[in-house]
Amino acid sequence: MNDYLKKTDMYGKIWIWTAALVVIMVPVAVCVAYNAWPPITAVLKGLLGVAPMFWTVGVIEVITYTPMLGTGGTYLAFVTGNLTSIKAPAALNAMENLGIKADSEEGEVISTLAIATSSIVTTLVIVIGVCLLTLISPILNSPTLQPAFNNILPALFGGLGVVYISKNWKLAIVPLIFMIVLFLLVPSLADAVGVLVPVGIIVTLAAGRTMYKKGWI
């Protein structure tokens, strides 16, 4: 590991542990300021509804996205969130545009640059939105625009997908068919699409290994 990557790892750890502290301090500050500590049973009951699912997704996301996003990109993306809807596509698109591999140092730089940019833009859009909320709230809630907000992911992954699939169509066939059949048979899985990302990866890896051994790719 060169000096830049070592320092990125060190700075990344400092930032992410500080971020963890900042995140925890938010409810602590509210509890102290209003002298309103919640009943532990209520918190546990609420957590029971989300933790099993989201803690699992959290573990899966860290394992699957870290190799794609690089060191700096990972530390930043996991703090700023919205991984699948903004950060990962932003990094992939930026690397693809420049024809750079994710596991190279140039890939590390471009991925970090894209994730940092999208974090800043997202934060600023929300800041502007919050400042102008009374003005834009009716527009955001207008029934005319709802189909756009309901279809952000298909609109995003259609464009991104066609680039990747056209370049790696042999490797893409099996996981695509697998996922289409899976969602046709069990539509309720749509709510847990995050959990199915590693399933897609395992299927792609299995198909890829077989094709590689046979000399097809």
């Binding site: 919640p38 029971l48 959290g58 699957t64 703090v79 969130g81 940092a116 756009a148």
Partner: protein
């Protein structure tokens, strides 16, 4: 201090958190930019990445803003603002708030007036997402080491492995548009939107290749996404009726 979901105190906390997030992003942006220059990457290339990413981010960021608006009726502005800016995503924050609300037996249709109800929701939303921030520094070394091992053993397979990660993710998000097709024509809308986005991207790709329109590379994903979203707005009323 009197409790109010939109109190100045809560806004001050939100602003502090936002400044922290911006500071971290700017820190990594500047470091990556400088490193890119050291590696011999041109300023034009690096600026192109920043510019095209900025344009592409705007539409999904507005949908996140919509999440803040949705949750603000129940939680006020500051808490959803914080949660959407740090770690959060609408796919998580909404179920977390719902779960906390049902645990304490309150309706999400009304604004919270009791501070202990508010702190319960805040703790559930925070603790539920915590592994996403704690695990990267713990697992980074192992994951990076594993990737290096695969690559050093067989470079070609290392490349296929990397591409498989991307394709695995993409195939899951492409497959999910088929989830509702059994509901009839309405269920096909996400699939149509995806196909329109793919078609626009394909046309952009052809234009870039045929007419050497290099500048279009910067905007291709944004154009295909916005084009598909406009299509969704137009086609939905026609299909739904």
């Amino acid at each position: 201090m009197n409790f109010n979901v939109n109190s100045s105190f809560l806004y001050i906390i939100a602003v502090c958190v936002i400044i922290f997030v911006l500071a971290q992003s700017v820190f990594f942006l500047v470091r990556a930019y400088r490193r890119g220059k050291q590696l011999g990457m041109s300023s034009a290339k690096l600026r192109k990445t920043i510019f095209s990413t900025s344009i592409f981010t705007i539409a999904p960021a507005i949908s996140i803003l919509l999440g803040v608006v949705t949750l603000s009726k129940f939680l006020g502005i500051p808490l959803p603002w914080i949660r959407m800016s740090v770690i959060g995503a609408l796919t998580y924050e909404l179920p977390a708030a719902k779960s906390a609300a049902s645990a304490i037996g309150v309706s999400m249709a009304e604004t919270i007036t009791d501070p202990s109800v508010y702190t319960t929701v805040a703790w559930v939303m925070t603790l539920g997402i915590l592994p996403s921030i704690i695990l990267p520094p713990i697992l980074m070394k192992k994951i990076k080491g594993g990737m290096l091992k695969i690559k050093s053993k067989d470079e070609k397979w290392g490349e296929i492995f990397m591409t498989s990660l991307f394709l695995g993710m993409i195939s899951a998000f492409l497959g999910v548009v088929f989830a509702d097709v059994r509901q009839g024509l309405v269920g096909f809308i996400p699939l149509f939107v995806l196909l329109v986005s793919a078609a626009i991207m394909g046309i952009c790709g052809l234009l870039i290749k045929k007419f050497n329109l290099k500048w279009l590379e910067t905007y291709a994903l944004s154009i295909s996404m916005v084009g598909a979203l406009v299509f969704a707005v137009l086609i939905t009323p026609v299909i739904v009726g």
